[in-house]
Point group: C2
Chain length 204, copies 2
């Protein structure tokens, strides 16, 4: 049994976690992939829930021993996805949801393309993104500017995704997300085509 993969990308401030939480009753069981990072935890962040927080040395050891499905270095910190829990969840036939950036999406698609669906989630405009980032009061000016610069370059990759979800109304965005997640789950039936055809044609 093989599960399916749903990659979500989009600027910080797009509302990805709110959307997932609003839609969770409609999308059935899933495994949310937790990234590993070398950056320090922010206030309130929990090891094993928000991220796996590890040292630079541990991360680089992981790179060398091939434990990452994908990883990248952003502003001097590593971010990556460990292969093992993803592999375990897929073996159980689960839908695995990734919240990763556009580089991560490319790597996951390259490795797991057959079972991958992807969605880019974004506020309706850059201006609206800036408003949301300022309203949440959690980032200083430098961080806000960096997020806006990142968003300006990430939006150019929207065409690489199967779906774009514009988060202007949370209820509509959550409804669209649940459609995408349920469609992603159906993709697992596509794989192992040769066996499917053989069984379909079998006379007994």
């Amino acid at each position: 049994m093989v599960g399916a993969v749903l990659v979500l990308s989009g600027p910080s401030g797009a509302g990805k976690s709110t959307i997932i939480s609003e839609a969770s009753a409609d999308i059935g069981e899933y495994y949310f992939s937790i990234s590993t990072t070398t950056r320090l935890p922010r206030e309130g962040e929990v090891h094993g829930k928000d991220y796996y927080f590890v040292s630079k040395e541990e991360f680089e050891e992981g790179i060398k021993s091939g434990t990452f499905l994908e990883y990248a270095k952003v502003h001097d910190n590593y971010y990556g996805t460990s292969l093992e829990p993803v592999h375990d969840a897929l073996s159980l036939g689960k839908l695995v949801i990734f919240d990763i950036d556009i580089q991560g999406h490319r790597l996951v698609r390259a490795k797991l393309g057959d079972i991958t669906t992807s969605a880019f989630i974004t506020p309706p405009t850059l201006i609206e993104l800036e408003t949301r980032l300022r309203n949440r009061l959690s980032d200083n000016e430098e961080v806000i500017q960096r997020r806006l610069e990142n968003a300006k370059s990430e939006i150019l990759a929207v065409g690489e995704y199967d779906f774009a979800i514009i988060n202007d109304h949370i209820s509509r965005a959550a409804r669209e997300f649940s459609i995408v997640a349920n469609a992603a789950r159906l993709k697992h039936s596509q794989i192992d085509e040769a066996t499917f055809i053989k069984n379909w044609l079998a006379s007994e």
Copy 2:
């Protein structure tokens, strides 16, 4: 405004029309593309509902004047899809559903790939297809054998489709179909990417 396309293929006897009808409350408004054919109407078939029935001369005139989105000749009869009603429905932003064969799917995908989603709908096995064809008592032995031969070659194309829907339980198949149809509808947001990015980045 541009709509989206959903192509359905699969053997006669797969239950496509039952599935669409079961799911229709969940998939919103759509335009079901009516094919044009030169074959004679069967008992109960209505011109403009089941097919547009035309003469061989009319059909060949249509081919020459480029009015078909796709067409094929099967067992001496032409089958095709007129471009104009599809174009009109797409201009209104509608989801257009096609029930066409694997050749038709290839042609539609080649022409409208950006906005096309496709699903192959099939009974669980060839044996089960044969049982269903015999139970419906509408075809003679020769027609049943021809449908089974067609099904054996069409199943080999299942991998060309975005989704496979196995119609073993009608309620589950209808639920899967509604997920696929709603996902297909979301695809229209993917197109005209350049305009989307330009508007997203615009400072006012």
